[in-house]
């Protein structure tokens, strides 16, 4: 019998140190590659040297003769997959090549260097076909049936053309965002082993169960015979949200060496093909306003790319459907299907590129209307969510803008562009709004078990990709069950536990936390306050009926000071302020880090990140950290992060809204707007590199 006194909450909201921290600072947390396995083989992939065509011959004799090489896997000897419907994942099933650097084989060897050496000795010949690997506005475009996350492709309300013709002020802008690669610090990694028809994957993933379901289907085995283990994951930012071909390659190769674990960590260079990326976008935005600065018309038309072998349609303009009030609005998405790898999720897919364009346009329009950009946004604050017609469960954008203006010292800004110089530096300030929807993925099931000795086990397959889930879920469990955090034994990151949805769309805490609350409620109902050892319940994330009544979104505002060298046009950002309204913050320490990390990635998007494709050869040419730039410690200035207390009783039992992505939504626009204020030059094409500022 338990004699624990039940607490009445208090764990949620505490600034608890990261539970997984001690293992991470001592280097003992096992990431995917680091689980102790016996007698492993190492995999090095063979990748196509053409963009499109057929493999016509493979000579692996030199490779096979190398000491330590066990097998060279190609489409000629690879096992057949049970399901080849997903052409991104159906690798080595034919000689067809659909993009440059696609997997055409792999070497398995006793050591990594032997595998790499041997891979270089395999001769592959090809029949090449013409290809198209670069996004062009004037290329062939089509209309996808729907967008990522089920958003409609196009929307139209009111009479846009009529509204433009009678608008007092209009703006017509074209904005582009480049291809970007997620580049979590831990490369995509799989250790695969088959034993008597059972597959085990030690996997670097944002969702152990989603991977389990995919591989079970592809290899034609019962779900229970595939186990995916992922207790520690070195970041993902969306690229590990879905399994990619590297996972299938490792599992497929492992089938040929039954019983021996196959280790495959994608190299940094290989991270630039086949593990997803942010599609490049070309966005046209038109805004019309009356003489008071109220928006009368908004259009947002997007062109972006997908792969010929599988569609990914990013919801770039979806955010424009509800961000500001207007009676006349149109949004459209058109895709170019190219001979390229499949684009996928990268932190805030849709919102991040879309809000760069919209929030840049809003800044331009504010100036045209003669209004302060904060005032302009406040004037266009909607009463309800235009997309659903529902009121917001809470919408505190205006509070974020006001609070941020105060903290940042917005009143000291000189509104005229290029009006403030300090020595060599042109100084400017910019602002932009942020938003992100509250997604609630269904299906997660949490087990709560009383294990005696005042300990409650809470189990499901949820992944912590660095977000702080280990810690936040422990806090939520403590409050849900009514005990202290020390009484909770959390077990996650393994399909041996009940199903958990993917750590994506900032949905984890909403989906998983709701399941925990539900399980705790049922547990008390069945077992009361004094359970016996072994008492256990399992419960599912319940539906939230309030989603029928309210639109649910988080909001925020960014303020940026940019300094541009008057000669070299180098851009520095000495300070950034971010204020968020994202419901209840579960853990201040880990949350701050999430917001800051998002803003830093927004700064990175603004100034650095761009994957450059050579259309002739179809690959990213700047495929490493020497050439694909992300900020280092010395690039970051002062970051002021805060949030306003928001009490939203509708979103979920915790009152939380999800915080993993909002930091990158709009922050790049705030930088561009600050650079404009500093220099008078409006950069509409990311990233803002010095060449775009030199006049």
């Amino acid at each position: 019998m338990s004699t624990t006194t039940r607490t009445t909450g208090g764990a949620i909201g505490a600034s608890l140190d990261r539970i997984d921290g001690p293992r991470k600072v001592t280097g003992t947390a096992p990431y995917a590659y680091e689980h102790r396995v016996d007698n492993p083989l190492y995999l090095f992939p063979l990748r196509s040297e053409i963009v499109r065509g057929q493999v016509t011959g493979i000579d692996a004799s030199a490779a096979e003769a190398l000491p330590g090489v066990v097998v060279v896997v190609t489409h000629e000897n690879a096992p057949q997959l049970a399901d080849t419907g997903d052409r991104e994942l159906a690798i080595l099933q034919s000689g067809e090549v659909a993009f440059r650097n696609q997997y055409v084989g792999a070497v398995l060897a006793e050591t990594f260097e032997a595998a790499r050496h041997a891979a270089g000795l395999v001769e592959v010949s090809y029949a090449e076909e013409p290809h198209e690997a670069e996004l062009r506005e004037d290329g062939d475009l089509y209309t996808p049936e729907q967008l990522n996350a089920g958003f409609p492709t196009d929307t139209e309300e009111g009479d846009v053309e009529e509204a433009f013709s009678s608008a007092a002020v209009t703006l017509d802008g074209r904005y582009t965002t480049p291809m970007e690669h997620n580049n979590p610090m831990e490369p995509h990694t799989t250790v695969a082993v088959w034993k008597a028809g059972d597959l085990t994957l030690y996997e670097s993933t944002q969702g152990a169960h989603p991977v389990q379901r995919t591989v079970a289907k592809i290899f034609g085995i019962d779900r229970n015979r595939a186990r995916v283990v992922a207790p520690y994951v070195g970041g993902g930012f969306g690229s590990k949200g879905l399994p990619h071909a590297n996972t299938i390659l490792a599992a497929l190769a492992a089938q040929m060496v039954e019983g021996r674990p196959v280790k495959f960590a994608v190299t940094r260079q290989q991270m630039f093909t086949g593990v997803g990326y942010r599609t490049p976008t070309i966005q046209k935005i038109r805004l019309g306003a009356d003489s008071e600065g109220r928006l009368t018309a908004v259009t947002h038309d997007v062109i972006e790319q997908t792969s010929k072998i599988k569609e990914f349609a990013e919801q770039t303009a979806a955010v424009t459907r509800s961000m500001y009030a207007t009676d006349n609005r149109r949004t459209t998405h058109r895709l170019a299907a190219l001979d390229v790898p499949v684009p996928s999720w990268m932190r805030a897919p849709g919102e991040a590129p879309g809000m760069f364009a919209l929030e840049s346009a809003m800044d331009e329009m504010a100036e045209k209307c003669g209004l302060d950009p904060i005032e302009f946004r406040i004037r266009n604050e909607p009463e309800i969510d235009a997309e659903t017609g529902l009121p917001y469960s809470s919408r505190n954008l205006v509070a974020c803008l006001r609070e941020g203006a105060e903290r940042f010292g917005w009143r000291d800004r000189t509104p005229a562009p290029r009006s403030h110089q300090e020595g060599r530096w042109l100084v400017g300030n910019g602002v932009a709004s942020a938003t992100y929807p509250v997604f609630r993925l269904p299906g997660s099931r949490a087990t709560i078990r009383y294990e005696g000795d005042d300990k409650y086990a809470v189990e499901f397959g949820a992944a912590d990709v660095g977000t702080g889930a280990w810690t936040a879920l422990t806090q939520i469990s403590a409050d849900a069950i009514g005990v202290g955090v020390d009484n909770i034994e959390l077990r996650i990151g393994d399909t041996a536990f009940p199903f958990a949805s993917v750590a994506g769309g900032s949905s984890g805490i909403t989906a998983w936390g709701s399941a925990i609350f539900e399980a705790a409620r049922v547990f008390r109902e069945r077992h009361g306050d004094n359970p016996s050892e072994g008492d256990e319940v399992q419960a599912r994330t319940p539906n939230n009926p309030e989603t029928e009544n309210y639109a649910m979104h988080a909001f925020g505002a960014f303020f940026v000071e940019a300094r541009v060298d008057v000669d070299t046009c180098e851009v520095r950002v000495p300070r950034m302020t971010g204020v968020f309204a994202a419901g209840k913050i579960i853990n201040a320490k880990t949350a701050r880090s999430q917001f800051m990390g998002g803003m830093t990635m927004g700064l990175s998007m603004a100034l650095h990140e761009e994957s450059l494709v050579d259309g002739r050869f179809g690959h990213v040419i700047n495929q490493d950290f020497a050439e694909y730039h992300i900020p280092t410690n010395a690039d970051i200035g002062e970051m002021d992060i805060s949030w306003i207390d928001e009490d939203d009783p509708y979103v979920n039992p915790m009152g939380s809204k999800g915080i993993g992505e909002i930091g990158i939504v709009g922050s790049a626009a705030a930088v561009a707007n600050a650079v404009y204020n500093a220099t008078g030059i409006r950069v509409r094409d990311l990233p803002i590199t010095p060449d775009k500022l030199i006049q």
Binding site: D17, G21, N633
Partner: protein, 153 residues
Amino acid sequence: MKLRLMVNGESRETEVREGESLLYVLRERLGLFGSKNACEQGECGSCSVYLDGELVCACLVLAGQAEGSEVVTVEGLSEGERLHPVQEAFLEAGAVQCGFCTPGLIVAAHDLLSRNSEPTEAEVREALAGNLCRCTGYEKILTAVQMAAETTP
């Protein structure tokens, strides 16, 4: 060929194949997975270790170059259960997210503090500019190093 070296105070001997890096040997041959491989070409600092007292990217050191050397990795900084003040500070400041950059940063910060016990903010940012982190935004890493500077004896 055979390689002999001291790792975290213990003498170790292992077989290596030509082309293998010190990082590979530490991880795959000696089972010390603390040092990470995130780029394998000296750009990210995740593999930072001490080689004969000097901070190096283990991915850029050929295993053979470490013959007879003394190597200290992140695993060698704590004393049993007792964390080193730098590790303690990273925890407390909230400088860790996914943790993949963390071991390299801790070794690099340890090195900085051994050379400069009271680094300024700019010195910390510059000294750690070779360690990439994709998660945290760096600020808490800065805080951690400053906290560690106060507590390191």
